[in-house]
Symmetry: C2
Subunit: 107 residues, 2 copies
């Protein structure tokens, strides 16, 4: 992963509403959750949620699929994993575990 992608993903997660959205979707799992339900559960206005979902999607952290008139959003676990790998390799070496050797998250 390049530094620009890492910055983009970190920025996507560096906002309370978006981090809450992402956490909720991770909890929900790969099937995802329709936008309306996310909005309702987190108390976010629909248009604001759309904006945040787009930010997360543009950063590559969310996948979506349309089902009828619902749009289901789910985490892209590979992308999140890549981010954790990047942080582990470049931002946490030098204190014991050598870069690239740390086991991170969900493989």
């Amino acid at each position: 992963m390049k530094i620009d992608a890492a910055v983009a993903r970190l920025a996507a997660l560096a906002q309370a509403s978006r981090l809450s959205v992402f956490r909720l979707l991770v909890e929900k799992g790969p099937d995802g959750m329709p936008a309306g339900e996310i909005a309702e559960r987190l108390g976010i206005a629909p248009s604001a949620l759309s904006f945040h979902l787009k930010e997360l999607s543009n950063a590559g952290l969310l996948k979506s699929r349309q089902e009828g008139r619902f749009i289901y959003y789910a985490p892209d676990f590979k992308a999140m994993n890549a981010l954790l790998g990047y942080l582990s390799d470049h931002c946490c070496a030098g204190s014991g575990t050598p870069a690239g050797k740390a086991k991170v998250c969900c493989d």
Copy 2:
């Protein structure tokens, strides 16, 4: 770690200059590097660097110590590790490894 601290740390890293600073300091190790050398190596204006160092420090990601008229900055590996643990637990479960069981980074 609470969500607010996670957001603060993510925001601190979600900026190209700051992520570069943090990476450089991780590479350098626990002894740290004086502000001037960071500025020179990364080509950042002193006042801008001060601003970014403060952001990273406020987020808890950097330690500093004064030595003569130099101020050495070094990563707080524990803080970074806590962030990775948070992300691993809350933002990456549901895809194999159960939350809290993933091995992250530099223990």
